[in-house]
């Protein structure tokens, strides 16, 4: 269990994974995001909370959307933001991950927002940064994507009253999905009644049930009576590893169509972490349909990231005052 993402008083110091965080903290993040979500509707979409702070988006893996929402979130909090896109092949040419990190740290950075293609990379970086630097995990390998999970929880909370009575199904490539792992942990921590995963055996981790989920291999039984349907993005390179025969067959079995959605409760909401592959994991008519909340998720992403960034940097300033 990560030992160092909380300060001694239980405040967020880093945000690396949902695992090990308690329900009140997750609720606090969502409450904070609720306050921030108003800002985006104002004429001046800015608050001076992080004025004078330097945040570096350190992306070792390509991403436009996630990086943009982190950048927007930081700017709305009045922080100075720099983007570093480093493809991993460049680092393997000589400079190690730690060298890169220490170089950027020398520029008096207050926070790193990190995305990396290796599981455990954010944890590794957090273990090696100077004590006054916060690390936010923007996705590490197949391990965790905690801000995505929190914006999903926030979206669910806006639509459904009580987590305890919910039945949530996550469809698709659980094996390689950092989003799914973080979602499952967040849903469990918030006390969701039942968490299901649906997919072919090739895309589910061995011993999935130890994650605290019920495993289904078909949509009809898996979606029955479900309140929240989450489909995951299917990385097209998965077609090459003998995991699936074709995108067409995947859509046939696990693509979310209007027809299959009927198995879920009539008021079920449909979510997707994006970017979506239309006609692979989800039909356009569902993605754009009345039950879809996919675009709301994107909007909420900014508020959640503002919440997490401000909480982590606030705990750092507190720490500095004590010292």
């Amino acid at each position: 269990m990560p030992s160092n993402q909380l300060t001694e008083s239980g405040q967020l110091r880093h945000f690396l994974t949902i695992e090990g965080l308690k329900r009140p903290l997750l609720t606090e993040i969502m409450d904070r995001a609720e306050q921030f979500s108003g800002i985006s509707h104002r004429q001046v979409k800015k608050v001076p909370l992080l004025r004078g702070k330097t945040i570096i988006n350190l992306f070792f893996e390509n991403s436009t959307r996630t990086r943009s929402t982190f950048e927007l979130a930081a700017k709305r909090l009045s922080a100075d933001v720099m983007n570093f896109n480093i493809n991993t092949s460049a680092t393997s040419k000589g400079e190690s991950l730690l060298d890169t990190l220490h170089n950027l740290e020398a520029m008096h950075t207050d926070m790193f927002v990190v995305r990396h293609d290796q599981s455990g990379a954010a944890e590794f970086i957090a273990q090696h940064v100077a004590p006054h630097v916060s690390v936010i995990n923007a996705g590490d390998g197949c391990h965790a994507h905690p801000t995505q999970a929190m914006l999903d929880m926030f979206t669910i909370r806006r639509h459904k009253q009580d987590f305890a009575n919910l039945r949530v199904a996550i469809i698709g490539d659980i094996l390689h999905s950092r989003v799914a792992r973080s979602q499952i942990q967040a849903l469990a921590t918030l006390g969701v009644g039942e968490i299901r995963v649906i997919g072919p055996q090739t895309l589910l981790p061995r011993e999935s049930q130890t994650l605290g989920v019920h495993v289904y291999h078909d949509m009809a039984s898996g979606l029955e009576g479900v309140d929240v349907v989450i489909t995951l993005r299917l990385q097209l390179e998965r077609m090459q590893g003998a995991l699936l025969p074709s995108a067409r067959e995947y859509f046939r079995c696990y693509g979310l169509t209007e027809e299959k959605l009927k198995y879920a409760k009539p008021d079920a909401i449909v979510m997707h972490p994006g970017p979506i592959n239309r006609g692979v994991e989800i039909a356009s008519s569902v993605a754009d349909g009345p039950q879809s909340v996919i675009l709301e998720q994107v909007t909420h992403g900014i508020a959640i990231r503002m919440a997490v960034m401000s909480m982590a940097l606030a705990s750092q300033s507190e720490q500095a005052e004590i010292e």
Binding site: G120, C142, R181, R206, E207, T210
Partner: protein
Amino acid sequence: MKICIINGRVIDPASQLDIDHNIYIEDGKIVAIAEDLAGFDADVEIDAYNKIVCPGLVDLSARLREPGQEHTATIESETRAAVAGGITTLAVPPDTDPVIDNPAVVELIEDRAKKAGRTMVLTVGALTQKLNGELLAEMAALKAAGCVGVSNGVTEIKNTVVWRRALEYAATLDLTVFINAADPWLQKQGCVHEGTVSARLGLSGIPESAETIAVSRDLILIEQTGVRAHFHSLSTGKAVKLIREAQDRGLPVTADVSAHHLHLCEHDLGNYDSFSHVMPPLRGVRDREQLKQGLRDGVIQAVSSHHQPLDADAKLGPFAETTPGLSALETLLPLTLKLVEDDEISLHQAIASLTCQPAAILGIDAGQLKAGASADICIIDPDVQYDCLPSAFISAGKNSPFGGWLFQHQVSHTLFQGKVVYQREPN
């Protein structure tokens, strides 16, 4: 030089000896194990009061990094570490750089080891040239140069025809084949055991079938070719079962386990602890118990270090990008004897699995205390409480997951060919 080891508890599993006797040594050889030897005038007396005196340890697999990676470790540095761990004989796998596929490399290693002069370094030759899995190595020449067996190291021979021919050829030369059993495709895919921990941490898994498929295939070819074979570093309970059945059928098959697989399991990965990144991976708790059972039953005859010293950078990075392996020469003895402290195996079994049994696998005359034998001796203090401190290892590799473990058994002296090559500094 005449040495007498007095007052110790002499344990020699090969001869079922467990007695409070003195050991008399002259000209590098044991002269007698007796209560008294009239007319023996020792130059040096070593008091082994309250200590165990047993044969020097025999390690079936330790990488010394020379030739090829002298910046990481050398024969000089690692033989010093070996004797600090009580090891007086060790075998190096062929995957040096250049590969041990010709007599020149064998000579180079032997030469360096002789210069170091503190432990017997044996070589295991390559089965195929450059370990490429395609062309057979000149095994007769390797045998003549002194190789105690042949192996393809951790590089699998994928082509079953080549594999079969290699085993047949080794059988012709009466060479033991040392096998690291792993299906190359299933193994290469992952970095940790496929199970609950890989599911939680999002690390790609290596299923147990990576080992069982390879062991099954190899056993069939061993039966067909009649070659004598040894399996290195078993990691799964199912592989132990396969080996047990093969031995029951009468196949000439032996096996070893690494000391770390007897103590650690997948849960020791904790939070991406790269020191626990080893190959084969740490498996489930049940596998660990079945490995211990295999050792108790004699299906597994030896505990080995599978020493792989690495420099600090090799373990600094996201888990999957770090290099697997651990520095293990100095923890082999305390870890194996920890099983005795925990009542898992008897003291005699533990010492046998570190001395005469691995010596028998290598087909060498070592690992025994008897008159006329080379005086390769390890003296163990069985009751010191100390914390394992990897940063204080003598080995150039400090990469060990056992930092902070409480050990009880500690080497106090090591003798090689009648010479004290290690003596622990008094605390």
